[in-house]
Symmetry: D2
Subunit: 302 residues, 4 copies
């Protein structure tokens, strides 16, 4: 029988050298301050047990991992109608971002590239009276920690560097695929990215992805079992930007990464894992984080 | 000896059928109200004489023809340093607009595509305390009519449909090629486009392009003779968007068009012409306007 | 306990209306002759049992499904070195085919788009003295039918319409990523596509994908268990061209489609399935084939 | 009164430092052997007089300058019908070559980019029983030297490096815009590029461009005066690849360049000039050649 605690500790040892590799994100000061050499991993199995190892108490902002939760919340409210505004296909290269968006007339390729997450945020904005509060409360309820907060320094800093994201939002607006005020939606979007957690809280937040849509903390059926399988398929094909194929090849699990150096990965019917290590590869994904999940994947049955 | 007045009258007759063709611009209400079947032409020879025919007293907004004057004003202030921020090459297709801008890292291909005119407006904004007033005064001085005004309804309407231009401006800003507030620069840009003239005023405004840089109304050496030759070369290769090559092939003169249905054309050492007819072809250029200039070109020596 | 035979028969009934939809491929006469209204499905479970329903004895050419086998044969010979010549990432849109190949300097995005399969064929060509024979023999051994043949009419017809594929091959050659004679490699490639099977033979040929790399007919460890998992991940992210994301969303299994109307799908540890129905959707995938696999996926545990 | 001989000698002195700059083309051995530090210039005025200075007797292959003559010969045979197969618009960047061709469905942007010259060669191939001979004879007749020959070493070497051009030809063929055998047309195309001349012969060959279509050597009306003006407009907007705009800005004359380091330039009604110096800038245009034409342009009236 597999001993998860031992496995996580061995993973920690295995990836220690990798945790010094890569470069931390530098486009905003708050992220640039992160130190390499740190690593944490946690997983929650579908019986509710939590295992962890490494720098478990360290906090970090969720960044693009928030896109998986805001997509979930948009699917709760719009169902398949959401796909009228955003696609389900992998996106090709980063270089394409605006190119692709222009060529495809303002409909982002999938909900995990920035344009897709921003249009999802616009959709949520239309249905929630206090969207930032609502997403934060969702994180709190699903992580089981009502003290989860937003790092306002990070949110402000992201907003000050919003130009490229603003360009995408205005381009979508020119195609009629953006309903609310660009600046307000972007402010909400950056707040979602700036929610601060540790790996245990993050693994718990996404427990529903391994558990047929039911959150192990709140007990809520967040989305249906079928929707959960669909969302995992999207994460499998598109969760790691331009490295989605390589991640699938090496790890073989649905996942989502963020530039703070965090990644979640899902083994349906078994567990949701979260890793964190700030050193990033050239695709913006955590070097040690991917190495850890690749190592973990060798030992788990799927 | 060539009789310009007769030539312009014959041109009017020749293009009458074309003036009913094409479609008026519809993206803003003020332009959509223009009626087809109208046509006007004027030219000013370098000895200062003015010839005209057709609906000469009709007013229209200059739209993109303003780009030639704002570029001139930016060259006065920056000289060749302006080319650090905007290129001198033809742009290929419309479809490329943001694609090309992204691929070339925020430096627009030339000053006559929208992105290039917007970055030029940003440059002017940095050097003028009252940029809208300054450009308007320039039009007044060079057209010889101090009553030229801005059509505020058009300016407001353009601003309300600014999304695609805002996307370009924010994309340039993300690449560090935009210095001022996006909304303020766009507002100035739309005001330049909304300056209202008739064909005689327009031909006079650009008399310096055929006269080695000296305005026939103000007597000012607006730009040097060498700069004038350079600007005419740019107009030749890039003045009519995606139809620049076709215009060069058919007309063979430097030119600049606007979506109100106006076009200026320059025969260096001889005259500057202006035409106006609201019906546009699929490239956004006046059908009768191009036909008129093509007809005119057959009769003038160059 | 799940009764596969009943499930396949119910699937047949379910998709009957879909089998009349879509359009058969028309770019070569041999494919254009296929009739709509036909459907067949087969699967082989990892205990070796075979189930089937519908027009099971009907033969069709494997077309792009051959890419999964030629990739396997190239991985046997080159291992991970193959990835120096072809990527592992999803490809974005069809429109991109040559665009992407040019931008990425002759390295195809993945082995399932045409350019990627052609470079894989070039790699095989360098290592096999009789490549067409070798691939045919592999199909025979793994399908358990030594009478599988190549449809030469189809191969010839594809070759006569080779121009776009030739363009890709020459473009790769210009970047130094093509070793052999373009025409000869294309001839081999079209022969692989023209291998003729029925759904039972096809499901058996790919049994190793659900069985940790071991073929249920030949008993051979075709590729390692780890390689098999990797290959399934690639099929999941890139197996259905521009509809890979939609297929993942609806079916959630690794798969590969061909323009003859066939699709294989893999449920690791359980079975390999093959379907066939000639009516294609706008992405070139079998309408009834996808509907069948989507229906099947609802009933099997994964 | 302008003394051309003095002007050319002053030009020689002026550009001497530039002749050591840039890099000679290296993609084929025959071009790589050219030495920097050489320069030659010649011009023929419309009264038939020839002026020259520098390394006037040095021979070089015409390379892409041949495109101006093959286009002329195609216009003789097809007139405006040629524009059904090739466009008249500037092309944007080199990077776009296949991208643009794919996006625009196999119709090259203009006849001076490689794809456009190849489709023009295909058109000529359909109408000439001995196309290579015919083009060579045209060069001989118009240069006034019946001993002009093709450098077969260069032609062979170009053909061996034909892959990218073959990719374009096959792509056009896939879109139905290529009538003859790809390899045969490419062989003719490379022979046109390998015609060997000196600057005097080259200036004479293109005398018709400054003389309303009449060749000063043969006396033939090669194309009409109107077609000549049109062709000059095309050379103005598209003759120097990605540097067409910059060349227009600096030189302000229609021109065409080749990778052997040669450029022709036309001042309609006055002269046709040819320069040669093998050192190329990053766009593949002769450094000293452009500098010479820029210098020349300052002194001539236009």
């Amino acid at each position: 029988m597999l001993d998860y605690q031992t496995l996580l500790e061995k993973t920690c040892q295995h990836v220690e050298p990798f945790s010094h590799q890569g470069e931390v994100a530098t486009y905003i000061p708050a992220l640039a301050e992160q130190k390499k050499g740190q690593f944490a991993i946690a997983l929650q199995t579908i019986d509710g047990k939590v295992y962890s190892a490494g720098d478990v108490s360290n906090k970090f902002t969720v960044q693009s991992v928030s896109k998986a939760l805001t997509l979930t919340m948009a699917l709760q409210r719009y169902g398949d109608d959401l796909w009228l505004r955003v696609g389900k296909e992998p996106s090709g290269t980063a270089f394409n971002s605006l190119t692709q968006l222009e060529f495809e007339q303002g409909k982002p390729r999938n909900p995990f590239i920035n344009a897709g997450a921003i249009v999802t945020a616009d959709a949520l904005y239309s249905r929630l009276s206090a969207p930032i509060h609502a997403v934060l409360e969702k994180f709190r309820a699903q992580s089981g920690n009502s003290n989860v907060v937003i790092n306002r320094t990070v949110a402000n800093s992201e907003y000050q560097h919003r130009y490229r994201n603003a360009a995408m939002a205005y381009l979508m607006k020119s195609f009629g695929n953006f309903d609310n005020d660009v600046e307000k939606v972007l402010w909400s979007y950056f707040n979602y990215c700036a929610i601060e957690v540790n790996v245990i809280e993050l693994a718990k937040t996404f427990s529903y992805l391994s558990n047929k849509g039911v959150c192990l903390q709140s007990g809520e059926q967040v989305i249906s079992a079928k929707q959960t399988k669909q969302l995992n398929s999207l994460l499998f094909t598109s969760g790691l930007y331009d490295a989605a194929g390589d991640f699938a090849y090496r790890v073989g699990m649905p996942g989502k990464s963020g530039v703070s150096g965090t990644i979640i990965a899902v083994l349906p019917g078994q567990f949701t894992a979260a890793v964190w290590s700030p050193g990033l590869d050239s695709f913006g994904n955590s070097v040690a984080g991917i190495a850890a999940l690749e190592y973990l994947a060798e030992y788990v049955n799927h």
